[in-house]
């Protein structure tokens, strides 16, 4: 990394140290984000009030501004190619607010037996595209063009050394929008993180209109009327996509080691790798004997666990957990099965993260003979 000149003022060390400690590992970042999401969904009527949201947003922007005075932070977040990611995080935050604010207002109206704002007579009335819409489009187009031109003048597109197949940079990173998937590589082999996950993201998105049969909440913002759908989508988009991209971009340095937001990327940082497989935990630690030579007895427990998780668990949930039972009753076999498959694969990411953090678990099923590791 290029050494970055220190500025006259830097954020106080007790603050940067505290943040580096709290956000001291990938799991801390992910768990805190999940906690944040839960709070956000639980209290959406409160924090979306303009004054509170404004205060939170202002504080976040101030914090970001202060952070840029930290040399380690600036070295990463100040790179031209990383600026769009900062903008992405800010704009996602803004639009999540805008959507949930309108949902909160509509939900209040729905509770009082009123229709959502979008259904009011004056909103439902038809208006002329020319000029009402055409002018909005024109203004948006001009403003956005100005924004793009200013951005392009202010920030030169980066260009590194010529391509050299003999010189691998460390870290080597995929384009930023795929860094969530690259982060998944910490927990899964490429066939899952790089092939299965993207495929299931696409199939999952495509299935949404056919699985979500809830007729309410069509054509207006609401949370109350579609809590499950909205929560699931926000989890997928905000946590499994945006937060992982953030993590992969700003907090993963050389050797894909984790670095706190204000921690300089030290290429010599060593992270002990003592991860073990489930089969080793079972045979060596629990049974206290050697590993079987053949992969089948060795991995049978892991295989059963995975099969049970994917195919038995949905059945049990549908029987014994009210939320899933009502889902099952509404959706029927095919829809429920597909939904659960996607849901559980998404959930496996969190489970694998937790297992890595608590048990140093590497693979649940490890059959390197067939490149089949889970």
């Amino acid at each position: 990394m290029n050494p970055v000149t220190a500025l006259a003022w830097q954020p106080p060390k007790f603050y940067t140290d505290a943040v580096n400690t709290v956000l001291g590992s990938a799991w801390a970042v992910v768990l805190l984000s999940i906690a944040g999401l839960v709070l956000m969904l639980r209290f959406y009527r409160i924090w979306t009030r303009p004054k509170i949201a404004g205060a939170i947003g202002g504080a976040a922007v101030l914090l970001l501004a202060i952070s840029y005075f930290d040399p380690a932070f600036r070295a990463i977040a100040g790179r031209p190619d990383n600026i769009p990611i900062v903008m992405m995080v800010l704009s996602v935050a803004f639009f999540v607010w805008l959507a949930f604010r309108q949902a909160a207002l509509n939900d209040e109206r729905l509770e009082q037996g009123l229709p959502p704002r979008e259904a009011e007579a004056k909103e439902a009335e038809k208006t002329f595209v020319w000029p009402d819409l055409v002018y909005i489009e024109l203004i948006a187009l001009i403003l956005f063009s100005v924004f793009l031109v200013v951005w392009s003048i202010a920030l030169k597109a980066p260009l590194e050394q010529p391509a050299n197949p003999a010189k691998t940079p460390n870290p080597s990173k995929a384009p930023w929008y795929f860094l969530g998937l690259q982060e998944m590589l910490v927990y899964f082999d490429p066939w899952i993180a790089g092939v299965l996950m993207p495929t299931m993201i696409i199939t999952g998105l495509m299935m949404i209109p056919y699985i979500d049969r809830n007729p309410r909440g069509s054509g207006y913002y609401t949370f109350r009327e579609r809590k499950f759908a909205v929560s699931l989508y926000m989890f997928g988009f905000l946590i499994a996509w945006v937060v992982l991209i953030f993590l992969g971009t700003f907090l993963r340095g050389p050797n894909w080691n984790f670095f706190g937001p204000y921690e300089p990327w030290d290429i010599h940082k060593l992270e002990p790798l003592t991860n073990i497989n489930l089969s080793e935990i079972i045979y060596l630690r629990i049974f206290g004997r050697g590993m079987p030579a053949h992969w089948f007895p060795r991995e049978i427990f892991g295989i059963l666990l995975v099969l049970g998780y994917l195919f038995v668990l949905p059945v049990l949930l549908a029987r014994f957990v009210p939320l899933f039972r009502s889902l099952y009753e509404r959706l029927g076999n095919a829809r429920y099965g597909l939904l659960m498959l996607h849901l559980l694969v998404l959930g496996s990411l969190v489970i694998k993260m937790l297992a890595r953090w608590t048990l140093n678990l590497k693979y649940v099923v490890a059959i390197p003979e067939y490149f089949f590791n889970i």
């Binding site: 187009l141 063009s145 920030l155 069509s218 989508y233 089949f372």
Partner: protein, 276 residues
């Protein structure tokens, strides 16, 4: 004929007290009336004609629910995504004038775009526009989801949207390689390495060993999907050319076609969604 033009230009019921001076004169010239076949858009009839008689504006219906044009409802994100696609097309074509997709010239051409073109910001516009488009498409998708706009009758258009999302990412990814610098080569190496692990058809994927003729493995590093993708075992000149063609021809055409379908369907599905 002249009569018709005149009728159009006067466009029924216009307040005769307004529109004097230069602009009014301009509107009465034969050139103007030959282009715009309707009078000033200040009557319902002419506002309708303004949209209906223009092939581009005709993407819109003449009238639309008020809730559907609110910025706070659509965030204009679909429109911005489309606008950025157009920006990418124009700046991309300009870049093509300077850029040769060979290992010999690619990097040098980018350097000269940087160093030799006075006031050149085409590369910047193209790159930042691409980043921005990825973001606006995600935000657009989030708005469509949160307004439940994928619900019947818009299920299919949501899926057209998902395909557009994939194409947007693929466009961005294939473009990433073209500067042919270290960032480009290694980002694409990391990305395409995943293809090695594709089940059955990648040489390090589960089940790769199953496809065999006698003792001979059919799926190996010189025959798997990654090889097909890159035209070689590593990211090299063949990959550069392939990505260039995907990036400049195949994906933009596919995206433009799907966008036509997407916009068409927005209208056919009843315009921007609103409460039923």
């Amino acid at each position: 004929m002249a009569d018709e033009v005149k009728r159009g230009a006067e466009g029924g019921g216009e307040d005769p007290g307004r529109r004097r001076g230069l602009f009014a004169w301009l509107r009465s010239t034969q050139i103007w009336t030959s282009v715009f076949r309707h009078g000033p858009p200040d009557t319902p009839r002419n506002r309708t004609l303004a949209v209906m008689s223009n092939v581009f504006l005709h993407l819109h219906p003449p009238k639309i629910r008020r809730s559907g044009i609110r910025m706070k409802y659509t965030w204009c994100m679909g429109g911005l995504s489309f606008f950025l696609f157009l920006v990418e097309t124009v700046t991309g074509v300009l870049l093509m004038f300077y850029y040769r997709p060979t290992a010999e010239f690619a990097y040098a051409d980018i350097v000269s775009l940087r160093e030799d073109v006075p006031l050149g910001i085409m590369r910047e516009l193209h790159r930042w526009g691409a980043h921005a488009m990825v973001i606006t498409v995600w935000l657009h998708m989030m708005r469509v989801f949160l307004t439940g706009s994928y619900k019947p009758p818009r299920e299919f258009n949501w899926n057209v949207g998902v395909m557009l999302l994939v194409l947007t990412l693929l466009l961005s990814f294939t473009g990433y390689l073209l500067p042919w610098d270290q960032l480009a080569m290694w980002a694409v190496t990391v990305g395409t390495n995943m293809a090695r692990a594709t089940p059955f058809v990648g040489h390090e994927g589960p089940g790769a060993g199953l496809l065999k003729l006698g003792d001979i493995n059919l799926v190996h590093s010189g025959s798997d999907v990654r090889f097909a993708l890159l035209g070689g075992r590593a990211v090299g000149p063949a990959a550069l050319l392939k990505f260039y063609v995907w990036h400049c021809v195949a994906f933009p055409l596919a995206a433009a076609t799907l966008m036509a379908v997407h916009f068409w369907r927005v209208r056919k599905d009843g315009g921007i969604s609103g409460p039923l």
